[in-house]
């Protein structure tokens, strides 16, 4: 009787846990870059679980087999120096595992650092993403519009984010589309992402930047190209113009809701790249922005 109750409770706990838990965001990728990362994570979890298991088994074996209470009182443990064979195995297998993971890691590294292979024929949509305490400003130079605290992106097209900050270091992160990168005051970082399917995604700043950090989030809406074009058209028709004055008030520390503007701040407050760059490009002689960005 008692046993059945335990089984029943156990069953219900498992069922409620399983139905209650949505998949973890990072392991539920909605874009090619996040997919690469999720694949790496699952692979490494597999290999690492195997290693942990081996250590557990050896430890359990040693502790059960060689405990004092199981041996005769006059047993004297031998003096054992070590053996070349054992050490070759103990070093060799980890070397092989690390070598294998290194290859995977390097390969994925180049993948996430370049535009997604899947959409290489598409022209990337460039979005300048900058932060000020504790907001996100997204400028679309192609469309000449700007949003605050939300992103609207087309699916199936690579997005090239240009990240920088008007203040402390922040980190731009949309878990389901791909891992993060820092936004800093004296340089522009590039992050390539893309969304495979329409949906609403969570985005946030992942790097601590003071009091308002917890609420330093933004919404990402991925839509079909046609819908995206509609949205742009609507913004162009209805949104106010972003003036320098308005932008300066936005830069002041604090939280604001979402808003949309015509025009971008790039014209009057250019990002720190090229001749506006920080330490690496003081009055850069070369106006070749591309080569400068590659330096980062």
């Amino acid at each position: 009787m008692k046993n059945r109750w335990i089984k029943l409770i156990g069953f219900f706990t498992i069922v409620t846990m399983l139905t209650g838990c949505d998949p973890l965001l990072v392991l539920d990728p909605k874009g090619p870059q996040a997919q690469v990362q999720a694949k790496d994570i699952m692979l490494s979890i597999g290999i690492m679980s195997f290693i942990v298991l081996i250590v557990f088994v050896i430890l359990a074996y040693m502790l059960i087999k060689f405990r004092a209470s199981k041996q005769s009182p006059n047993y004297k443990p031998p003096h054992i120096k070590g053996s070349i064979m054992v050490e070759v195995i103990c070093v060799g297998i980890p070397v092989l595992i690390v070598a294998y993971l290194s290859i995977i890691s390097v390969e994925s590294n180049y993948k996430v650092e370049s535009p997604p292979e899947k959409y290489k024929n598409e022209e990337p949509l460039v979005v300048y993403a900058s932060t000020s305490n504790w907001k996100w400003h997204f400028s679309y130079p192609e469309e000449d519009i700007e949003t605050v605290n939300y992103l609207y992106i087309p699916v199936g097209r690579p997005i090239e984010f240009k990240l920088y900050s008007y203040g402390p270091i922040t980190s731009f992160w949309i878990p389901q589309l791909g891992g993060q990168k820092y936004a800093m005051a004296d340089m522009v970082n590039t992050l390539h992402l893309a969304a495979d399917m329409p949906g609403e995604y969570m985005g946030r700043n992942a790097n601590f930047n003071g009091k308002g950090f917890a609420e330093n989030t933004f919404n990402v809406t991925a839509v079909q190209q046609a819908e995206y074009d509609n949205w742009v058209k609507e913004v162009k028709e209805t949104a106010d113009m972003l003036t320098e004055e308005k932008f300066n008030t936005l830069l002041e520390p604090g939280h604001v809701g979402q808003s949309t503007f015509n025009g971008t701040h790039l014209t009057f407050l250019p990002p720190p790249e090229g001749e506006h760059g920080g330490h690496q490009h003081e009055k850069a002689e070369s106006k070749d922005n591309k080569s400068l960005q590659n330096n980062h």
Partner: protein, 648 residues
């Protein structure tokens, strides 16, 4: 100038006022108690002016445990705040101060003195020396550390605590975004205690290289001494970087330079580089001596020599090299490009290899052994599985493409707690139980000890395993709150239960000390564990000259050879022993450094200049002083030995 406004707390709360009262009452109680029991003279002669490495070790130990409770209280406040969504227990500012001081206190003022305690106490005994190479500098090291710790600890009642994370990333830590004096406290507390650590590093290296007993070649040093040696070499290479970084940060904040600012050519990446060039090796400074302690304990309680001594030494040396080649993995996401990330990804994962070698060597030390489950051994056995989980997740973090997803999340927090708590804290608690009889002459209760070990190990899993999941679910670290819709609630609640478990575990340790002081038998002899190395050849507690006669060593396990292989450990006759005199200068210098740091924190330039002069006067006095030390006569040695051992 308005002093009241300056020293006031920028964000006061009832909790802070309560702590103020508590601190005030404690100080009054201590002063009254010392006066009433006429202990001022005793305190000054035996502790404040001591240059005895064992007493300094014990003072480090007590400070470390106090700081463990301070940092632990911070941890519980954090976990309590996060236990449920939209909690209002702490506001953002307090939460930021709490996690900043938690990190700083735990790494710099808990873990560091904990390993320093064991290094100070054990290393000279283990190599058959009478003290460290520079006993008075050793005292100075302790007082610098202690005053640094105190300086950080007064921050929350005077002027406000640091609030930009223990990593103190600029430009967030600069005046513009952190206007309170909190970050000044951080800079000066770390600077002062860091100087102490650097001095210890030099002191220990010289001690180990120059003061070993006859016959103890480098490859016959016990493993803890080896690990301390490697750790101190890392200290000497890493800490100057911290000194420079802190100085530059100080210049930015107090003298308006632009090393790390957002404008005028400041480079925010530079701080991250400096910080982690020190910060990553720092992890190995902590963990290598901990590994040394595990090696001693596992071999003692397996009744066997340490398996693969040479590969243990080799792996530590390799780890020390690699520790300086991995710092960039702390900012894979700073945009240094695929090539740099790839290189640092590989060097980072490579550290797993020598670390794995050590794990397997410990496992093989158990092989054909005769395993006795004492409290220290239980901690060591619980360490292996928990640390392995922490270690393999480190390899996962080392894969830089995947790290883009782990970075700055709870996954990372879970990883380093799963490494540092089993790796360092378990080791220190194991060491505490193991060396307690040597330090104080009686043992801690085994029953309570084992119960504590289980509670702490289970709490570690409860508190940190959920963070792996919440991290992968998008919970960034250092968020002071979250909404219900995120679904982080369940994970954080389990973590909170784990934190409560920790509190119970650590309270039990205190109870154990109390219980053992009252009830433990005192006549336990010099070697209660049937140990293998030299520190157990002295009486417990150890007389201040350590060894009455100079020991002679033929292997890594001199005492074991003496006990079971007919090795003559003390072949020499009694001779008079030269010992250093006590000195008040290190303590006074420490106090001046405290005032020096405090003056700079509040930019009070006149006291800053005066204290700087004071520091130089102390150093000059020491240089001009002629203090040849003193000799302990043969009669006195014989009398002491007779009293302690009951034999000649």
């Amino acid at each position: 100038m308005d002093y009241f406004e300056r020293f006031a707390i920028p964000h006061p709360s009832p909790a802070i006022y309560a702590s103020m009262v508590a601190i005030g009452l404690t100080v009054i109680a201590i002063i009254v108690g010392l006066t009433y029991f006429k202990k001022w003279g005793y305190l000054w002669r035996e502790w404040l002016t001591t240059v005895d490495h064992k007493r300094i070790g014990i003072m480090y130990l007590i400070s470390a445990i106090l700081m463990l409770f301070r940092g632990g209280a911070d941890a519980i406040m954090m976990r309590a705040q996060m236990a449920v969504p939209d909690n209002k227990l702490l506001d953002a500012q307090h939460y930021n101060e709490v996690f900043t001081t938690h990190g700083t206190v735990m790494i710099i003022f808990m873990a560091m003195p904990f390993i320093m305690a064991f290094m100070n106490y054990i290393v000279p005994l283990q190599i058959g020396a009478r003290d460290v190479a520079f006993p008075r500098l050793n005292a100075l090291s302790f007082w610098l550390f202690f005053m640094g710790a105190m300086l950080l600890n007064i921050s929350f009642v005077i002027g406000g605590s640091p609030d930009s994370g223990w990593t103190n990333y600029f430009p967030l830590a600069n005046n513009e975004f952190s206007p309170s004096v909190g970050t000044n406290y951080y800079l000066f507390a770390l600077q002062i205690s860091g100087l102490g650590t650097l001095i210890t590093g030099i002191n220990m290296i010289v001690t180990i290289l120059k003061m070993r007993a006859p016959g103890m070649t480098l490859m016959k040093m016990p493993m803890f001494t080896w690990s301390s040696f490697v750790a101190n070499v890392i200290i000497v290479f890493a800490f100057p970087v911290l000194t420079v970084a802190l100085t530059m940060g100080t210049f930015d904040r107090l003298l308006a330079t632009n090393f790390f600012t957002t404008s005028d050519g400041g480079m925010d990446m530079l701080w991250a580089n400096f910080f982690w060039v020190w910060g990553h090796p720092e992890v190995y400074i902590l963990i290598l001596p901990a590994f040394g302690i595990y090696s001693e304990i596992i071999s003692t309680f397996s009744g066997r020599n340490l398996y693969g001594y040479k590969s243990m030494v080799g792996s530590m040396v390799i780890i020390s090299f690699l520790s300086f080649l991995v710092w960039t993995h702390h900012f894979f996401t700073m945009g240094q490009g695929a090539l740099t990330n790839s290189i640092f990804s590989i060097t980072t994962m490579a550290i797993a290899i020598p670390t794995g070698v050590k794990i397997f060597n410990w496992l093989f030390t158990l092989w054909k052994g005769k395993i006795v489950f004492t409290t220290p051994m239980l901690y060591s056995m619980l360490f292996i599985p928990t640390f392995t989980i922490g270690g393999v997740t480190g390899v996962m973090l080392g894969m830089s493409a995947a790290d883009y997803q782990y970075h700055n999340t709870m996954f990372l927090v879970a990883h380093f707690h799963m490494v540092i708590i089993p790796g360092v804290v378990f080791a220190m608690l194991a060491g505490l139980h193991y060396y307690f009889p040597k330090m104080f002459g009686f043992m801690l209760n085994e029953k309570i000890g084992k119960l504590t070990a289980w509670i702490i190990a289970i709490s570690t899993l409860l508190a940190f395993m959920p963070m792996f999941f919440s991290g992968l679910d998008g919970q960034a670290r250092r968020m002071y709150t979250y909404t219900e819709s995120t679904g982080f609630g369940i994970w954080n609640m389990i973590s909170f239960i784990g934190a409560i478990g920790f509190a119970i575990g650590f309270a039990l340790i205190v109870y154990n000390v109390y219980y053992s002081i009252r009830y433990s038998p005192r006549n336990i002899g010099s070697d209660p564990w049937d140990a293998r190395t030299l520190e157990w050849a002295t009486p417990s507690p150890v007389p201040y000259y350590n060894f009455a006669k100079v020991p002679h060593v033929i292997s890594t396990e001199a005492l074991w050879d003496a006990k079971y292989n007919q090795h003559e450990l003390f072949p020499e006759k009694y001779e008079k022993i030269h010992m250093p005199n006590n000195s008040g200068v290190p303590f006074i210098l420490g106090c001046i450094f405290f005032a020096w740091g405090f003056s700079f924190v509040f930019s009070m330039w006149i006291p800053a200049i005066l204290t700087t002069i004071g520091i130089f006067i102390c150093m000059a006095l020491r240089s001009l002083e002629k203090d040849p030390g003193h000799y302990v006569s043969v009669e006195e040695i014989k009398a002491t030995e007779k009293k302690m051992r009951g034999v000649q």
